[in-house]
Amino acid sequence: MKNYIGLSVLAGLLVLASGTAGAFECKVKAATMAKPDGFPSRALTMIVPYGPAGGSGQVAAAMAEAVTGHTDVAINRDHKPGGSGTVGMTAYMAAPADGYNVLEHIDDASSAHALDSTRPNPAADLIPLVVSQVTFSQVYIRSNETRYTDWPSFVEWVKAQGGKATIANVSKEGSMERVTMKFITDATGMEIQQISFDKGAPRYGALLGGQVDALFEQPGDVRKFLDAGNFKPILTIFNERPGVFADVPTHKEMGMDFEPLLRFRGFYVHKDAPADRVKWLQWAFQRGYCQDSYQAFNESKFMNVIDSYRDTAGAIDLINASVVQYREVYKSMGMDVK
């Protein structure tokens, strides 16, 4: 735990601006902005490194609709799934840096750079236009579970299983999920088998059907199961209790002293894009975040539970803090950090 506690200062930036969200107020006041030298005179292309049906595909569609709605500039989405986002990132870095190509990406880009610094740094090789979704993770059990009903009884039960208990997540090497689970298991002294499901449906079905004992996930992704009363959160991995989960204890309340890693999704442009075009894109995407359609989308995904908005400067802080935190954790895990 000492290593992780030592990261608190560095990671504090992550949580600094991520308190529970208040009433929404658009940070970008200008409703219009002149196009610099007529840019954009044609449709933008948004490279999305994941498929259209997942969380990234949906946020890309919602933001594209919002930006087009208030600027009348069409956005074509080009999905390039595979390689945990690296295929899309590589394709984007090879695309012309003329401002017509933008990228959607998630925090995987930051953790990938933390593990291997030859990978693009989203805060330096790219310019964040806006981070439009920031969320935390929770541990869920079935609502009708009788073997354990809350976090303390779950930990006690898991310990009694001698390593046979299971939790479903996306435990790719170095992922936010795997790192956070290491924090949790180190802090509690429990041993639990992580089952990696890369698709949501089998992951949620595994908990519903009793194939696994618990699920590690973000609340927006399982909202329908929460609304239907199928799943019950027993632990929030965040520094304070968000209002809608006021009865769910946080990891710190349960004696786990680590800084939470957040899941975030945002939009980027190449650092070599012309500055005046970048400014227009920043305005268009940050203002897109304020559109009613986008706000409704974020609300449907529980993305208004904590402050989901970061402008360029805020996004750079978020990314830099994440990279530092991941890198230190990777070293402590004995991983080969390049």
């Binding site: 049906a53 609709e65 999905h79 390689g83 088998q193 059907g209 609304d227």
Partner: protein, 498 residues
Amino acid sequence: MWENFAAGSLALFSDPFTIAIFVFGVMGGMLFGAIPGVSMLTLAAILLPFTASLTPAQGVMLFAVIYCTGTYGGAITAILFNIPGAPENAPTAFDGYPMTRQGKSGKAVGAAVLCSAIGGVASALVMMAATEPLANWAIRNIGPPEIFALVFFGLAVASSVGGRSIWKGWMSVLLGLIIATIGQDPVGGINRYNFGFTDLAAGIAFVPAILGFFAVSEIFVQAEKKATGKFDAPKVGMSFPSFLEIWAHRIAVVRSILVGFFCGILPGIGATLAAFMGYGEAVRWSRDKEAYGKGKLEGVISSETANNAATGAAMIPLLALGLPGGALTAMMVAVFQMHDLEPGPLVFYNSPELIWIVFAAMFYANLSILFIGLVETKTILYLLKIPFQFLAPMILLLATIGSYIGRGLVLDVIVMFGAGIVGFLLRRSGYSIPGIVLGIILGKIGEQNFAQGMQMVHYDLFTYFSRPICLILIVAGSLTLLAGIYKAVGSSRSTASQ
């Protein structure tokens, strides 16, 4: 049930705009399913934003109809040109295209039309009758170990299909399994065999591999025949299968319905595995295994019945539990969400009228396959009269576009032509193209579930045998393997003694 079905039918056909959407879905699904490269997913992605202006029932119904007819659409090009419109139509090409070369295209297409309709309608009826209990049974009893065992069971007969000998069949399957390991490993995300190329980390996509091994290699084969004066243009066979011919395969139809339904009901599995398993079971239970891959009507019947039987089944976990069975059903979740709805148990209580319009629409969409399919088939068969020198470039162009469009990667075009060349050479040597494709597709699904299953059983392989469904499937698969090896060894000895 019947009252609800009647109410759903009435709601569907009492509004002209809803009827128009239904017809659009039927025709659009068939068209996009039939054109290689684009698919029902392409159409669904295009239509997704427009569903916001429809009612929830119209939006979900449109996607459900596209799912039914799109799954059938790809069978036509698979049979006529060896170009499966989608991975779930690939097994249809195994025997459908050889039938075309033998002048039996009408029989193959007719059987595909009829059996797609039968599989889809049967699946829709079961879906209407027992959505909730089936969904709950599936998620409680079928996990990654069972899905791996199912894939193993399916692969056990793969060596029989299309190879000159069972050993060459096995070599072909193993090659497919090796190709399936390219890219990130399914649980740890570690790159394998990508040789430093980022794009290869995403693995070999199904569509370019299928287009290369089937369509491109076939063009090379026919071009060689053309160059050597041995080219024999496919004859246009207009005779449809008779009722007695279909009736003779009634057991295969029922078996494929069961197999397709079982695969479809598993979250995240869907029609592709259903088609391959349906085909595999046809081979397993046949007395004439060697005839498969060479133009056997039962191959077409089994594959097309099974993939359409999976469509209704895939709606079950989606509607009952909110768990999509594949990419298109995942898009349906987005349609629900656009209207502030979530698929899952509450939909049955909150929006029963929506559920029954969707159920009714899927039933009628499958019936439409029968009528529209039979009407259009006679016209489509005339495409075979296009001279090879015009048809081949068109197919290559379509296949190239189809390979590129999925992920926008030049790698996929390279894979397609590479698979075409490798496929051409392997076919000359008697290796099995269906075996390779079976290995690629079942290998990816199988490896992922094996790895997840091993995590679940704490890396104790014997725990697999304590799960009854696993035990049955693994033992049955092993027996099939041993029987195949015994037969092959006996055949080799007999050849040697002569």
